[in-house]
Assembly symmetry: C2
Homo-oligomer: 209 residues x 2
């Protein structure tokens, strides 16, 4: 039997790719800080370059346009959030009670609005169908799985939609910025809502105390 050589990584090429990934990360971190500090409108190619201490050309080479940067920034945020709820520490990640994980999920999502809200809202507004984006499918699968793990009854795919609807960035931003609710109060309402949804109604619709 002949030995088939394993493909070897090209060391120079790998180093270059590592540099590229590190640069990309550096730029996205700078952009994330800018969103948090000055809002999404402040995130220009120039501002990101200045914040990251690189030339403007580097930002353009990496993302092509402001639209490309925004998309990358949102992907980056969503990916970090997905990592946190899929593989991070409990109660958001695996290991906690599913109802507690669901509560932690919403609380983390609401807290994220403080930094990423404008970005999330921009993404919702720019999509031709704001319900038809990959990140939403991942979230939906996660919430439905937690409801199932918690033995919640009902039409779980639709219960998951209903719960997700109250976490939409556009709604949370409106409640927080326009109506003056604190993010803590919104998070407490989420916790309460999840506990109610996780408790099936009694057959006569009345409370057993």
């Amino acid at each position: 039997m002949n030995t088939i050589p394993l493909p070897r990584a090209d060391d120079a090429h790998t180093a270059e790719r590592c540099d590229a990934a590190r640069n990309r990360r550096l730029l996205l971190d700078a952009a994330t800080l800018l969103v948090g500090e000055r809002g999404v409108d402040a995130v220009t190619m120039e501002a990101v370059a200045a914040r990251a201490g690189v030339g403007k050309g580097t930002v353009f080479r990496r993302f092509g346009s402001r639209g490309g940067l925004m998309q990358a920034l949102l992907d980056h945020t969503e990916r970090e959030f997905q990592e946190a709820f899929m593989t991070g520490p409990p109660p958001l990640g695996p290991g906690a009670d599913p109802v507690d994980r669901l509560i932690a999920f919403g609380r983390a999502r609401i807290a994220l609005v403080e930094v990423q809200g404008e970005l999330l809202r921009a993404a919702e507004a720019s999509s031709s169908n704001r319900f038809d984006v990959p990140a939403r499918a991942v979230t939906h699968t996660h919430i439905e799985a937690l409801l199932r793990a918690a033995d919640v009854g009902g039409d779980l795919p639709l219960v998951a939609h209903s719960l997700m609807a109250s976490l939409e960035a556009t709604l949370v931003l409106h409640q927080w910025r326009n109506l003056g609710y604190t993010l803590d109060r919104l998070a407490d309402n989420w916790s309460d809502l999840v506990r109610r949804v996780a408790t099936p109604p009694t057959t006569d619709g009345r409370t057993v105390l």
Copy 2:
């Protein structure tokens, strides 16, 4: 004491206003039928005129532009819906149990999407802040009042927001048209959701059966 003459209605003027109101109603009914039959894109000034059997000039004089017609059409739909839940027959209107009224409200709203969905979605998309429109404030007040009447606990203004979020026309249309859920199934999920929300969770978060 001198007799102060009561202001008298100008009969000719009143008749003219009645005609105007009747014409307006006729045109809006024609436009509503068109939306239901052929979707919101089919609602042009010409099509409405043809459907109502009047000249195109009449439609332009009444509404100014297609945008004006759309706004009037949405106001008309919302007004009819508001009348139904505020003063119409139970269970949507007064006289029924508040939880039953809340269930009827959502079911009627979901059914409305079949005819008015595209219009409602267009209105949601065109508003600079889709949460900041008068019709939404009326709905919110109504839902919060029903929750209060049903002795539901929790942060009622926010519970009302959460419930309303799952009735948004954009979401319901996505569930129905893109995901293939029937409107009946969406309505059943709403009923179930309301019953759960109206039942407070037990203190230890577990179900008492």
